[in-house]
Symmetry: D2
Subunit: 254 residues, 4 copies
Amino acid sequence: MPDAPRTVRVLIWNEHLHEVENETVRALYPAGIHGALAEAFEEVGGFEVGTATLNEPDHGITPARLQETDVLLWWGHKAHDRVSDAAAEAVQEAVLSGMGLVVLHSGHLSKPFRRLLGTHGSLRWREADEKERLWNLRPDHPILEGVPDQVTLEQEEMYGERFDVPDPDELLMISWFQGGEVFRSLCTWQRGYGSVVYFRPGHETYPTYHHPDVRRIVVQAGRWAAARLRRDARDSPNADALEPVPNPGKEHIL
Amino acid sequence: MPDAPRTVRVLIWNEHLHEVENETVRALYPAGIHGALAEAFEEVGGFEVGTATLNEPDHGITPARLQETDVLLWWGHKAHDRVSDAAAEAVQEAVLSGMGLVVLHSGHLSKPFRRLLGTHGSLRWREADEKERLWNLRPDHPILEGVPDQVTLEQEEMYGERFDVPDPDELLMISWFQGGEVFRSLCTWQRGYGSVVYFRPGHETYPTYHHPDVRRIVVQAGRWAAARLRRDARDSPNADALEPVPNPGKEHIL
Amino acid sequence: MPDAPRTVRVLIWNEHLHEVENETVRALYPAGIHGALAEAFEEVGGFEVGTATLNEPDHGITPARLQETDVLLWWGHKAHDRVSDAAAEAVQEAVLSGMGLVVLHSGHLSKPFRRLLGTHGSLRWREADEKERLWNLRPDHPILEGVPDQVTLEQEEMYGERFDVPDPDELLMISWFQGGEVFRSLCTWQRGYGSVVYFRPGHETYPTYHHPDVRRIVVQAGRWAAARLRRDARDSPNADALEPVPNPGKEHIL
Amino acid sequence: MPDAPRTVRVLIWNEHLHEVENETVRALYPAGIHGALAEAFEEVGGFEVGTATLNEPDHGITPARLQETDVLLWWGHKAHDRVSDAAAEAVQEAVLSGMGLVVLHSGHLSKPFRRLLGTHGSLRWREADEKERLWNLRPDHPILEGVPDQVTLEQEEMYGERFDVPDPDELLMISWFQGGEVFRSLCTWQRGYGSVVYFRPGHETYPTYHHPDVRRIVVQAGRWAAARLRRDARDSPNADALEPVPNPGKEHIL
């Protein structure tokens, strides 16, 4: 028999500024956005959930902690440049060596996301309390198990194309916005030994992370992206030949 | 009638250290690797060719010069870390805003390539004077026009999988090596408004860039990747709605 | 100097039933949809344009004619099953050997499209005179040269996801519809040595093919997909080894 | 807690002619190739395994049986054209509605594979008792869990590029052959709601399906491709608008 599904170690990173500074946001997310997301994972079960925030030492994401993390969630918005380059590099390195990364909403401009994709992550946006409809292109995908053909969010911030990212390896959902725009809202990319997921909804002034389908997608993205292997991918080893070659002991000039 | 094909502005960047320091390399490339490549473009015609090297001020690649470059070629090997971060960022920004980039051989570890792809670019390697056979998967592709089904290089450095790069948008050639390895040798990726090409052969101690099929591929890669548009992709504009929305003038809290 | 751009041989296939049977459609397309499309190519120039329709012998698309065609356009709607299997196979074979194919609108259910993609091509649809907005994801792509960031069609038939096709190699435009749906509207796939393009708009009761941006996209799709090579891809040849093998003359048992 | 992993229903289809007609093959696979493969699945556990062969009524693959199959394996070689079009269509339809399909070795020319991919599946081949080395590009992928960086088969039939298939969604292994060729040996494609895997090794005159790494890959491919959803994808429904449209009750002219 195959093994029972292992417990996935989730680390939820949240900037955690809006909830402290703004009453509307605090009312929606009294335990912080990270608290609402942690609750979603715990409801489902099978996860060991931790959280980390910007103002902790090292933003709570040392290489050692990432080494013991199967998948990292990332929510940030107004303080991307306060995340240290060292922390961003640690996240990038962890993904390339196998850790999963699920980037949420305004994380499209975060340092780890931009470093891993190599692009700006720019897009058009608008805050107008408008309706978003997310269309499900892949109901067979593990991230979308049990998610209906279309999910409606009554009020959300608008993100519109062109989204400056590499073509996703998998395009799973496309959003329709009341104001006339479309957006590639649920995407995956493989980078090194790790998986990166981007999921669009989640503006801090709306109750988006209390929506059952949104929670389901976030949790299933976490499970899907979780590391299946950890291996350093940095070195370029000098390799012995498997078959005879003319000059096996040749010296490499530099 | 469609316009006549425009002249493509090519800039060939070469580290230019081996040719100065090593007699074998200098004998193979008396005008430098950049000189041999420039000659290949000039033979075909339709290009305006410039060159730049590591030891020039700003390595010869200021943002202003890149703005007037349609496609940049990059050959570097032993001094990747002597390329300034500012120069690497300027190349990345130029590609995202439309410039083409053709990365050659040991450029797989160069700063611009790694920044654009987000991965390490690591691989297995060996220098043993062995045979390489490049198999043509896409004889219909503009980069491979007129290239036979298989190209043999009698002696080359070996590069073997796993090559730590994102899945290419197009995989055009795969190499077979005498010592038992394989490698994805000709790949393209779209990044922002620009195209990135990686072409494997070209170790400095072999006459690879004098091989007619290699020259043909390099030149056609340059033409194919050349910018068709230049546009800044950095900004995320706040966009007015095209259709009625509930709260068009809503203030954005920060 | 590179050669001047060659003349592209375009063949426009149209079912040509609606224009004959329905007054509204005839008023919009007095020379047939194929006539309107032919005019678009001729205005631009650089093409040799022919047309063919369902009721011609062999539907006007014999293997011999396809052999002399660089790119075939396909518009069909109500009589997909009256296209012979032999004709559909001839189109498939021509594409695999290098011919381009641009499938328009209701051609998503045509035999050649379904044979080449292997899927049903099914989708959701509605005819309600609603607005369509096509968002441009790749302004740098040759098919979208000069096309604005967004194209509005005041009235069109709606096509909505899930569109049952393989993930496109390139996703170039996504449509927004007034009634709440989205759609992958401009897609490309490589099949064999040929290119397949699908472009969504073009319902027969609207003046869509008179819209300048639609015409521009259709013509540029035709130029982009045009064959760069013709080569039979059917055979699986028994190949002599390039390097020594243990038993080169071994007999193949059957 | 997430559910325990469900039992996967595997159906192994084998042409089963070589084993009957040829003594060498029979000695290698006394229970048939399907018998060897069934044994591999049963050793691991967690599967409900059935088999079917060409000479059974309906080749053992009725639509009803496929409806109760999560993943179908396919081995065929010399009698592809004896598989009925109805059976090939039933397999295609089952995949599009969610069933997984793992095509082995000479199945690259089978009817179901060609129908689903839309291409010829042609390639170069040679039978010369030569060595094959399969390089692992994705050690993090579930199909390659526990598989080393390189798998050596001492004797196999050679398959070489160009392999006439659409670009795989995932390229997992590339083969090196002693005689000088390379091949994309382990590939996946999504079609409709189902997954297609192609795995190259398995010529009938070699003990390939007794090799532990080959068996591991076949079994893990079966588990990975197994249906996660069954849904008919044939219909193109006329859909009511979710938002107000100008003419919701408009009649569709035909």
